[in-house]
């Protein structure tokens, strides 16, 4: 197995939520015990519905939010011991909306070279040249160097965001829904660019997305999150071809491939995403699960190792127990 660049060990993050004037605050467990390993060169996709804790997890991995408990390691060093600048040298984000993530009053050149300024780069004379190099790499014409974000199209802006993330040659890039604000034809250009850059610069991606068709195309590993926990993780191929957790199955079942012979799938998931302040007992997925058993309301499923990762579901726990009994 290749080298681990980023590792999360049982990290949690809770937020204290006000429940009204003069009432006690209640904890909201946005991330609730996540273990993740990001290996060099892989594309790990983090999928799940809104509110499942994807973005909170990403913020912790970027060092922008300290975990409430658990530990994070970057390149073998505890993340807590590194300064913001050190973390930023290794991990960089690309955000969803290129309209709001670029400062409208700065020129493209300023935006792209800002990380060099922030890192106190010793060689200011080379900044312009390096910015232009990276612009070329991401497919931006040099003539936009002095333009403002408002003069660029959505696809070009996302290229600026990518250039800004890459100018200090980070090793890990965290892409939070990098293409969901873009048009279809532009989305494919950006995905192609991300693929090329990964090969050229040896990057590792953590991709957060709810577009499962995009995830399937890009990812080498997939982690499915539900209510703050990774309920299934494994090789992209395995998770896609033989999903085990009922939630993963429902997610994959709701991907709308452009096939006019198929109708709209019925996911049987029910309407309600549970309130994270008041989590269901036992397996948190049981109220929406098509395969729920009586024991699921009380028993918290433990991670069961699968060939390439793990799954947290009582269905497989029993399977494992049976195997243990017979052997």
């Amino acid at each position: 197995m290749s080298e681990v660049v980023l590792e999360a060990r049982d990290i949690t993050r809770k937020f204290m939520i006000s429940s009204g004037f003069m009432r006690a605050k209640r904890p909201l467990h946005a991330v609730n015990g996540v273990n993740l390993k990001l290996h060099r060169g892989e594309v790990l996709a983090l999928v799940g519905e809104s509110g499942c804790g994807k973005t909170t997890l990403a913020k912790m991995l970027l060092g922008l939010l300290p975990p409430s408990s658990g530990s994070l390691e970057l390149d073998g060093q505890p993340l807590a011991s590194l300064s913001h600048l050190d973390v930023a040298r290794i991990v960089q984000p690309i955000f969803q909306d290129p309209y709001s993530s670029l400062n409208p009053r700065k020129t493209i050149g300023n935006i792209i070279s800002l990380p060099l300024v922030a890192q106190g780069d010793k060689d200011p004379a080379s900044w312009r040249q390096r910015a232009e190099e990276i612009m070329e790499l991401v497919g931006l014409p040099r003539r936009v160097y002095n333009n403002f974000p408002s003069q660029l199209s959505g696809g070009q802006r996302q290229r600026v965001a990518i250039a800004r993330a890459l100018i200090n040659r980070p090793r890990v890039v965290i892409c939070d829904e990098p293409t969901s604000a873009l048009d279809v034809s532009v989305q494919s250009q950006i995905l192609n660019l991300l693929q090329d850059l990964r090969q050229e610069l040896g990057l590792t991606y953590l991709m957060i997305s709810h577009n499962l068709a995009v995830v399937e195309h890009m990812a080498t590993r997939i982690a499915v999150m539900y209510l703050g926990r990774v309920v299934e993780e494994g090789d992209a191929e395995t998770v896609y071809n033989s999903p085990r957790h009922p939630y993963t199955k429902a997610l994959l079942g709701s991907v709308l491939t452009p096939d006019p012979n198929l109708g709209v799938p019925d996911t049987h998931l029910g309407a309600a995403y549970p309130n994270p302040l008041d989590m269901p007992s036992g397996c948190t997925f049981h109220p929406r699960c098509a395969q729920a058993m009586p024991s699921c309301t009380s028993e918290v499923p433990l991670p069961v190792p699968t060939g390439s990762g793990h799954v947290e579901c009582n269905l497989y726990e029993e399977e494992q127990d049976k195997m243990r009994m017979t052997s």
Partner: protein
């Protein structure tokens, strides 16, 4: 009674801007039958949302709308006054907008907003309106419907809000629903549920449905007929099966190549791309709007306006000289043989 509930012919929308007239929508013709789903697909700025607003007579004041025909259930929108139009809007036809967050009024309860249109259009009592609201909220899959009526939009999740929007659109039992990107802001699981629900309700109430979207996956699964728009024009129309199995316009083909399809597209391989950007619609345009990005562009593509070519298959049309030539050639060969 005719089955056609919407007939639009040569709809054109011009918007004056400081740098010239913006030809946002050019000669768009669509029609919808009862019980039929028409999907309008296209990228941002192609005029698909303006088309729907024009049908609802909700365009901004400075936008100029012309059409040779714009009829709702046999009534010409041009002949009836604003008053009659208000009677029709929200009553015989209604609209579902993209963002349930911004299109619900945060200061009124769900119940107030649901019953408003029904009380405006029909002579019903408060309690009758309330019953209808509860009935429809249950229909769209909202549990504890009666207790939701007193809640405010911020107390509901995105999926629930979109369901409320759908229930609201159904309150008066319309003949036509226009849904503008109804699921774009939602999770995939909720998206599937909402589309499933829309299709079911449409069958049940035998309504016409115009679905505006940029998501080809949604289109393929729900559409009976598809109109592909590019830069203010419809470039191709046909049944969903025709469009997806044999796209005739290079733009449609380009769009289809852009999306990764699990199981079909090779993982990690390069996706198709449409190089270049959408042309500006300000000022005079000549020739094919897609010419600057088209891989199959020929000299004659840019010289004259490209007419809609109808003789492909029944119910099919395409705005492309090369597709027209190809169709002619194959027809000619058949004639010779």
């Amino acid at each position: 009674m005719s089955n056609k509930i919407l007939e639009v012919q040569d709809l054109t929308i011009d918007i004056p801007t400081p740098s010239g007239t913006l030809h946002a929508v050019q000669k768009v013709s669509i029609h919808v039958d009862r019980g039929e789903t028409l999907c309008i697909v296209g990228e941002s700025g192609c005029g698909k949302s303006l088309t729907s607003l024009a049908i609802m007579d909700l365009l901004p004041k400075k936008a100029m709308r012309t059409a040779t025909r714009l009829e709702l259930a046999g009534e010409s929108v041009f002949e009836i006054g604003e008053r009659r139009m208000s009677d029709i809007r929200g009553n015989r036809m209604s609209m579902i907008f993209q963002e349930p967050m911004t299109s619900l009024n945060p200061a009124y309860t769900i119940g107030d907003q649901l019953t408003e249109a029904l009380r405006r259009h029909r002579k019903v009592s408060r309690s009758e309106a309330r019953d209808r609201a509860v009935f429809l909220l249950e229909k769209v899959g909202i549990t504890a419907a009666a207790s939701r009526l007193g809640q405010y939009p911020h107390q509901l999740s995105g999926g629930l809000r979109q369901r409320v929007m759908i229930a609201m659109a159904l309150m008066c039992g319309p003949d036509l629903i226009i849904a503008d990107e109804p699921t774009t802001a939602l999770d995939v699981t909720i998206q599937a549920q909402i589309l499933h629900l829309l299709a079911e309700l449409q069958r049940e109430f035998n309504m016409g449905l115009i679905l505006i979207t940029h998501d080809l996956g949604v289109v393929a699964r729900i559409a009976d007929r598809v109109a592909v728009m590019y830069a203010g024009q419809i470039v191709e129309t046909g049944s969903a099966a025709q469009i997806f199995s044999a796209p005739a316009h290079p733009y449609t083909r380009g769009l289809l190549a852009c999306i990764p399809i699990p199981g079909k597209t090779e993982r990690g391989a390069h996706l198709g791309a449409i190089p270049g950007i959408v042309p500006s619609l300000v000022g005079k345009m000549s020739g094919c709007h897609f010419a600057s990005r088209c891989p199959e562009v020929q000299q004659n593509c840019t010289s004259a306006p490209i007419p809609q070519f109808e003789a492909l298959d029944p119910g099919r049309s395409v705005r492309c000289l090369q597709a027209e030539n190809a169709a002619m050639r194959s027809a000619g060969q058949e004639g010779v043989a």
